[in-house]
Amino acid sequence: MEKMTRVSGTVSGCTMFCHLDAPANAISVCRDATQVVVAGRNIFKIYGLEEDGFVERLNLRVGRKPSLNFSCADVMWHQMEENLLATAATNGAVVTWNLARPCRNKQEQLFTEHKRTVNKVCFHPTEVNMLLSGSQDGFMKCFDLRKKESVSTFSGQSESVRDVQFSIKDYFTFAASFENGNVQLWDIRRPDRYERMFTAHTGPVFCCDWHPEDRGWLATGGRDKMVKVWDMSTNRVKEIYCVQTIASVARVKWRPERRYHLATCSMMVDHNIYVWDVRRPFIPFATFEEHKDVTTGIVWRHQHDPYFLLSGSKDSTLYQHMFKDASRPVDRANPEGLCFGLFGDLAFAAKESLMSAPQSVGDVGRKTYPGGDRRYPIFFFKKPDVTEQFAQVSSALSVFESEAGSSVGMDWFINTAQSYLLSGKPFAELCEHNAQVAKRLNRPQESTTWTMLRIMFSEPANPSLSSNHNLNKSGNLPLVNSVAFDHKTFTFTLFLAARKSLQTVYEDVFLCAENEETEGSEGQAEYLFGDAELDDDDLYSMEHDNQAEEPEYLLPQEAFPLRHEIMDHPSAPEPVQEKPESPHVSGSEAESTCLTPMESFSLISVSQLLFSPHLPPKFFCPIVKEMLCYYAEQGDVQMAVSVLIVLGDRIRKEIDELTQEHWYMSYIDLLQRFELWNVSNEVIKLSTCGAIMCLNQTSTTLHINCSNCKRPMSNKGWICDRCHQCASVCAVCHHVVKGLFVWCQGCSHGGHLEHVMEWLKQSKHCPAGCGHLCEYT
């Protein structure tokens, strides 16, 4: 046997790892922190911890035949006796190993008293010969290593034992955690019943660990993804800390010399090892991210050294992690938070240092969220704790409330939802109506869109006869004008300088029409994008400059609005934002009022008639599709869905099912949030997606009880299985009602729909003669 190297005093080393031959299930370290034992189904080895790497010292799996006694679920190295190890085998055996045995087989004792897998073994911290085991069969057994059999058996009276741990401070006490979520405290001298029991988790408690210093602190980890710290020193067990992790907790180990720190690893999915400060439960203090499969065993290398952590994993590696190499998630965390409330309120938390310039912050707040008011500045202060190694972050939380009726509110949404017509009229009328609605609610862009849709998809015979007149009028009008959009909070001035005659306008239009064939229809989408940004005055001021500088590009602009929905933009370099304004201008020029889309569109129809009077509606589909996507992207899913429904088959094929479904879902969700049940139901009904339509079929069952025996009716609506009586008899004809049953909610009499209707023509009283004045609506 090799001579063990002793590192006296401090341990030293670096982050290092070695490959094992097989996945590890558990690891344990000897008291002087020089060797580590790794145990798993197919591995049982001892590694020496050298300065620069792991060195295999001993393979304990000897013999030709594979024995299940070697298939370890857990392993523990004795903390008093450096040659003594114990393992828990998956077949229910508890085995002790003595490294001092002269032969190759180091197995010393074999206890096969458990009937099921043994999950955990634990040596007594101070008593040399005492070993405790906990098994799947629900029993814990205490062994005296000088005897061949267990000295006492503890029955948890419940399901499997997942972990057993001797208390470090109390000689006689041990804790056991169970699959049903309970933790029990036992006195080793009293095998008849537990001292205490409490429910720690929902679902199995996979692990527990006593605090090395604080008497009575016990940490438990469970399948419910929680780590909890319990204070047992009081009469009632009290939960003092709780850490929520992202996966079920497989192991938990207190960090030596750091009162509030503990390390955890998870059972599934998450491969990292976290070190938590239990007082800061929302973000791990440190993370080790080396493993590529779940970590199955963690142990601090030395019981008084907080800087070395050893871990074994299913990925067949054994790691030594240095604390200084750990990643600190807190450094990468974003200390700012922002959240919108349902009614347009906004909460914003940021580092105090950032908030300290109050003037500028206030300004920003007001400007970004008009109508907002920094009414409740709330400051959180936390007393700095010297033992806490977390960076001190104190944040200020501000809440900006929106004023009632301001633009941040969602009134427009509700109004629009209620006023829009989605079906029941000819297409053109629907569009017309919706355009009016949008206009009334000061949403010119949407209004314009509806009008355009009407024109695009209506029959080409529709254009009004007055259009020629309008065209002439607008074409000959003076070309410089300024328009005030009183529905906006700002005013802008637009200069139009068009010097050409109507004839040249026509020519331009003609040219552009040729262009459209070669360039596709992207320009249309640009138009729409531009319109949406109307609110941004910065952009406008920029535009004005552009226009002033490049007047020669303006003429095409005027041409576009005339028939913008059918033609492409000849790659002119001016900003896209300009285009939308042009129709408004021409409209207002025509009527000398603020915009009237009708007029401008009659212009369009004329230009349509001029060269291609029979453009098929299909031609616009790509444009409309892009427009819908644009609206949805902008967050106005209402518009997207409404247009989708109104257009129906005209556009549906163009947009893929999933997107449509997504829009519908979002819109329905919004509607339901605003409690617009009727609208939401209408939308569901009108939708053409399978997944949406079936929303209406959930929770449509109506449960009825038999009127005689008050039991629920099982299979048929009219006859009770139990009392064999016909439950629903018509009060008029006294026959069983098998179809529509109508009844008064006041006296609960009723019957066939038609019978009751007839009856009520003659009488106001209940047909059953109960004297109630029935109301059927």
Binding site: S248, C694, N715
Partner: protein
């Protein structure tokens, strides 16, 4: 009016039916509004029925990653693998009630590619779950037009396993299609004609001659006694049974191998007649093959302790499809712990050993081994007829006959045999889930 419902147990159950249990009634009412035959048979064990229905309706009706019609269609696909027309009819009907995409019901080729992609894991899970690998998962999840999200996939996998197992139960206890189902439906008529319904009824009709009164049979008394005797002996022996490792290993291998020989009589690779259900089946020739085949490289044994339902399966499934873990956990636990401390006419018997033998034997056939279980017990406790029944019900339930059902445990009550079926169903479902979830875990790491 239905006075009786049809199952192997026939009218015998009526008297024993604990249908006055109002909670169960309400639970069922709440969800389906009617009691089908299946529920009534399961209603023999109301405690279990409650857990079952909760899980069943959560899978089919409550919040989940998959849309409702997908769920029923997957149910149809799963049940069709075992030609279980009862379940297929039921879900065809439910699918129609949803009222969308009804052309999917014309067959697999009419449903979207995305669903058709499930065929592969459907058939593997149904017949040879040990073959499922992370490549299968990868193929479904990899980004593309027809890809599945992991959450959707987990939902689908749970549905598949649930309905495969349910098919086992339906055939195992001879649940017949509801008469109403075939009466009421208009469109489904071509799928569930009365003749098809006969697929299950036939057991009942063609084996009337075997309907002897079990209590009068003189042999059977000793049979029960013998079983109880063996259980008692095993319990005593356990204390001083020092079977070596190899011994334990060979016992497992022996059980595994022997399960090959346990084949229902007269079974050769018969071609299943084309039935209306067949339109939902892809590659119908893919059937059960024994886990351990002679002279071939067998897949490695699944070590139960390395991937357990409680630790790993639960964590994964609950992460991707919230709450289903708890419901499944509850269902497994209820099925495994269910006992009335009765064996036939004897009372106060601890049946845990027998229940564990049944459960582990199913897992054994699927190649799942528990290190801490002595497979010698299986051999002692489960007689050959029972093994034949178990193997048929779990591996190819469509071949179950009434004769098989009657050929074991003559003295036991029907409710006890239904209990056996519940155990088989849950064991099978867990085995399938373990294999599937392990593959998903491998894919994720």
């Amino acid at each position: 009016l239905r006075y009786c419902y049809r199952s192997f147990s026939g009218q015998l159950i009526i008297g024993a039916m604990p249908l006055n249990d109002s909670t169960v009634m309400f639970l069922d009412e709440e969800f389906s509004g009617r009691m089908d035959n299946l529920t009534q048979v399961m209603g023999l064990h109301p405690h279990y029925l409650q857990a079952f229905l909760r899980c069943h309706y959560y899978l089919l009706r409550m919040d989940g990653p998959l849309p409702l019609h997908y769920r029923h269609y997957i149910a149809i696909m799963a049940a069709a693998r075992h030609q279980c027309s009862t379940l297929v009819c039921q879900h065809v009907q439910e699918f129609e009630q949803i009222g969308v995409c009804s052309d999917w019901l014309r067959g697999l080729e009419f449903c979207p590619q995305r669903l058709r992609n499930l065929n592969e894991i459907n058939k593997i899970l149904a017949h040879r779950p040990w073959l499922i690998t992370k490549q299968h998962i990868q193929a479904l999840v990899k980004t593309g037009e027809h890809s599945w999200s992991l959450a959707e996939l987990v939902h689908a996998v749970v549905l598949l396993a649930h309905f495969h197992a349910l098919a086992s139960f339906v055939f195992g206890s001879g649940v017949n299609p509801d008469p109403e189902v075939t009466e009421v439906n208009g469109v489904t008529d071509d799928i569930c004609p009365p003749a098809m319904a006969g697929l299950c009824t036939c057991h009942l009709t063609n084996s009337n001659q075997g309907n002897r009164n079990p209590l009068r049979n003189p042999d059977t008394g000793s049979e029960l006694e013998a079983l109880m005797e063996r259980m008692k002996r095993l319990l005593e022996e356990r204390e001083d049974d020092d079977a070596s490792e190899e011994e334990m290993f060979t016992r497992f291998e022996k059980e595994k191998k022997e399960s090959l020989l346990v084949v229902s009589a007269g079974f050769d690779e018969e071609v299943v007649p084309p039935s209306p259900v067949a339109r939902f089946v892809d590659d119908p020739s893919f059937g059960y093959q024994d886990f351990a085949r002679h002279g071939e490289d067998n897949p490695p044994t699944f070590k139960a302790q390395d991937y357990t339902w409680e630790d790993h399966g639960f964590s994964l499934v609950n992460r991707l499809y919230s709450d289903i873990g708890h419901l499944l956990d509850d269902k497994f636990r209820t099925a495994c712990d269910l006992t009335y401390y009765n064996m036939a006419s004897h009372e106060g018997v601890d049946t845990s050993m027998l229940r564990r033998a049944l459960f582990n034997y199913v897992h054994c056939m699927y190649g799942i081994r528990y290190d801490d279980y002595d497979y010698g017990e299986v051999n002692q406790l489960l007689e050959r007829n029972l093994k034949v029944y178990i193997k048929t019900v779990t591996c190819y339930p469509e071949r179950t006959t009434r004769r098989m059902y009657e050929s074991y445990w003559h003295q036991f009550r029907h409710s006890e045999k239904v209990h056996v079926n519940l155990l088989l169903m849950e064991a099978r479902m867990q085995a399938e889930l373990l294999y599937a979830l392990r593959a998903i875990t491998h894919y994720m790491t």
